[in-house]
């Protein structure tokens, strides 16, 4: 059924409001998450994670809308057979790509690819958050090594997404140029010009009620599943009683270091060398030293699966008892070393709690870092 030709330049509502809102919200949230992930200091991680949850929610919506939305939002409407994709590429090379009312075949491929990669980023991010950071709904289910693999996948996928966004924008520019119609404007006002002689079937309207129902079901399922999962305690941390002797004797000159920050061999070397402890005599009565050595042996880094325990386990062979000499510690604190530590040479490095508000728990969460004002 041909569309009525009442106006001189007939146009058609292509992108419904939910699709347009989804598109621009997605663009903003993803840009912010990428910028923070790549550029911001570690303590922005909380914001990054919430942006990630936001993007994940949008993707769930898009999956539902891809089934219940209006004509051009339906996934089925932009699955193109290979022959059509090939035709489009040929037309593009000749500078005259065939007109497409919704997504053109190449653009459609990119939409599917971006949704898939964003979903992958969300899943790997959740796995990394649970495994490495012992946070989020998966904290109780994943170990550090699995989480660390997910963390690497997360950043590789994020770089891939960055490249895909570049291609997507390039595609929009090229298509707008060759088709003499701004696709950006179309994604804002929702309408596209109908070329002369185009035959259009009645576009299918959105099934709003079904979509709402599906969204409510999905949202409820996600909320219930994540709060149930969140009740499982983080797998990387163990229960550790406080030992009075350790708290008192090893807290006289500096803060009491969390036993998970060094491996057993380091603690026993430290305890055996208290007569000459970092340039001082810190010797103890033998029975006190024995009790503390046993305590540290029980709760040394080998007993934990936190990020700090895993990373700091590799000590510097020439200073096995010094947390701040481990390669990981040095790498992580390289940027701040000059500005902060040198102005207060005596209170800097070894005063973990001055910057890590959760140093006492051994968690060392990214969100709990705050460099004190000088």
């Amino acid at each position: 059924m041909p569309t009525p030709r009442s106006s001189p330049v007939p146009s058609l509502a292509v992108w419904d409001l939910p699709t347009r809102l989804y598109h621009w919200l997605q663009a903003v949230l993803v840009a912010a998450a990428l910028a923070i992930g790549f550029l911001a200091p570690e303590w922005w991680m909380g914001v990054h994670v919430w942006l990630g949850y936001g993007v994940a929610g949008l993707i769930v919506f898009r999956l539902i809308w891809g089934v219940f939305g209006s004509q051009f939002s339906l996934f089925a409407s932009f699955i193109h057979p290979p022959r059509q994709i090939w035709n489009h590429i040929r037309g593009l090379i000749e500078g005259r790509p065939p007109h497409a009312m919704g997504h053109n075949p190449l653009g459609a491929l990119m939409v599917f690819a971006m949704i898939a990669v964003m979903a992958g980023i969300g899943v790997s991010g959740l796995l990394a958050l649970g495994g490495v950071e012992n946070q989020g709904p998966l904290a109780g289910f994943l170990g550090f090594s699995a989480g660390d693999i997910a963390r690497k996948a997360h950043s590789i996928l994020a770089m891939a997404l960055l490249a895909m966004i570049g291609l997507h924008v390039l595609g929009v520019i090229v298509d707008s140029w060759l088709g003499r119609e701004s696709l950006v404007r179309a994604m804002i006002i929702g309408r596209k010009r109908v070329p002369a002689g185009a035959l259009l079937l009645n576009p299918r309207p959105a099934r709003r009620r079904a979509a709402t129902l599906a969204a409510i079901c999905a949202g409820t399922a996600i909320l219930i599943a994540s709060s149930l999962a969140g009740m499982v305690p983080a797998s990387g941390l163990i229960a550790m009683p406080r030992q009075a002797a350790y708290q008192e004797e090893c807290g006289d000159c500096h803060e009491v270091y969390h036993p998970s920050l060094l491996p057993r061999a380091s603690w026993s070397a430290t305890m055996a060398g208290l007569e000459n402890h970092f340039g001082e005599d810190a010797s103890l009565a033998p029975e006190t030293a024995q009790a503390i050595t046993a305590y540290l042996d029980n709760y040394a880094s080998e007993a934990w699966d936190t990020e700090a325990a895993n990373r700091l386990r590799a000590v510097d062979g020439t200073a096995p008892g010094q947390i701040s000499a481990t390669p990981f510690w040095k790498r992580k604190h390289r940027q701040i070393e000059k500005s902060v530590f040198e102005t207060k040479p005596l209170r800097g490095r070894s005063n973990c709690g001055a910057c890590h508000r959760d140093a006492g728990s051994g968690r060392f969460d990214d969100q709990m870092i705050a460099i004190p004002a000088r």
Binding site: E280, L346, G348
Partner: protein, 137 residues
């Protein structure tokens, strides 16, 4: 009613202050006995020798800690700081009334700090002189 509760608290406080003063005296008496045993000519502790010990820079100890004042500051009335940056309450009894009341603590820190600064344990007269100086400040 309230005064009934305050009274025992005051008594308890006075008792601990008293106990600490007693412990401090016992500690000094102990050092004096040891000093006499080692040297029959021992004629009592001297605050000025104590001050000397406190202020002198020694060469025999560990390189980073040549003197007591490195951590305790040159003023017994001022708050000091460990090499790792933790505050140390003043050493003068007038500024820190709890000082030298716990024999175990005193023994532990004399052992450590003298070894760090002088490279050896302090003698009984040295310890007595030091406490005498600090209690008089």
């Amino acid at each position: 009613m309230r005064s009934l509760l305050i009274l025992p608290a005051v008594i308890a406080l006075l008792a601990t202050v008293d106990a600490e003063a007693g412990a401090r005296q016992a500690l000094l008496d102990g050092f004096a006995t040891q000093a006499k045993a080692a040297d029959s000519g021992f004629a009592g502790f001297s605050a000025s020798r104590g001050e000397n010990l406190f202020r002198t820079s020694f060469a025999g100890g560990k390189p980073d800690t040549p003197a007591c004042t490195v951590c305790h500051t040159p003023s017994p009335l001022k708050q000091g700081e460990t090499r790792a940056g933790k505050p140390i309450e003043p050493m003068a009894l007038s500024a820190s009334p709890d000082r030298y009341g716990d024999p175990k603590k005193v023994a532990k820190w004399f052992r450590r700090n003298c070894k760090s600064v002088l490279g050896r344990e302090c003698t009984a007269p040295e310890k007595g002189d030091f406490i005498t100086f600090m209690t008089g400040q």
